[in-house]
Symmetry: C2
Subunit: 128 residues, 2 copies
């Protein structure tokens, strides 16, 4: 397992956006933008059980999450690892993510799932 430095972790805990890449059934990549966080051990985001990326992760848990500094996209961190899906308390978690990014609860928390990724590798660009 790879450890994030304080500055690398801060990119995930600040209100930055991230691109999540998963592997489709045909083996090709798919990417989407997500809100993101870091709990000290895992990179964390929240999605729904009906999204394509969630379906991909149940077939192949390998994932890459790349977060960039909203004020300077030359500063970015990519982590890769295996995703763990967790539906427990996922609605409450989604409200928390929404509070972080918008200051308000989320509108619809049906079918939510928390995705946690412990970094197996870390690549940082412009972030010590």
């Amino acid at each position: 397992m790879a450890k994030l430095s304080e500055n690398q972790a801060k990119l995930f805990t600040d209100t930055n956006f991230a691109v999540v890449s998963t592997i489709r059934d045909d083996g090709g990549p798919q990417s989407t933008v997500v809100w993101v966080d870091y709990d000290g051990e895992s990179v964390v985001f929240n999605t729904t059980t009906v999204r394509a990326k969630t379906q991909h992760l149940t077939e192949d848990p390998r994932i890459s999450v790349l977060v960039w500094d909203a004020d300077d996209p030359y500063r970015y961190v990519e982590i890769a690892g295996e995703a763990e899906l967790d539906e427990k308390d996922a609605a409450e978690h989604m409200h928390g993510m929404s509070q972080k990014y918008t200051g308000e609860d989320w509108k619809n928390v049906e079918n939510r799932v928390i995705v946690r990724v412990r970094p197996d590798r870390v690549y940082a660009h412009g972030v010590d």
Copy 2:
């Protein structure tokens, strides 16, 4: 082949950043940030022959390129397709990309390669 709308194409031709995702030897995803452009048919970026992503693409040309609006990351377009690598005039092309983003020629144009991706599929979020 999928066609980009005018607004989708504009995200690639403006000075926005993109995340490129390729498939590693082990089948997992890798992502990096790149400068990007669109020539009316293909999404285009410039890298070097020694980068990991270039090595990946010679093994498996499948690629995803996600560009977001630097002023509003809720507006983004992901395209996926197969990458074509082209070393011809790649140094000159890199100077052009650097001029687009920085207003100056690039510092080192050794081993450059142009990557072109004709979109097989397009996913747009917040961009008509």
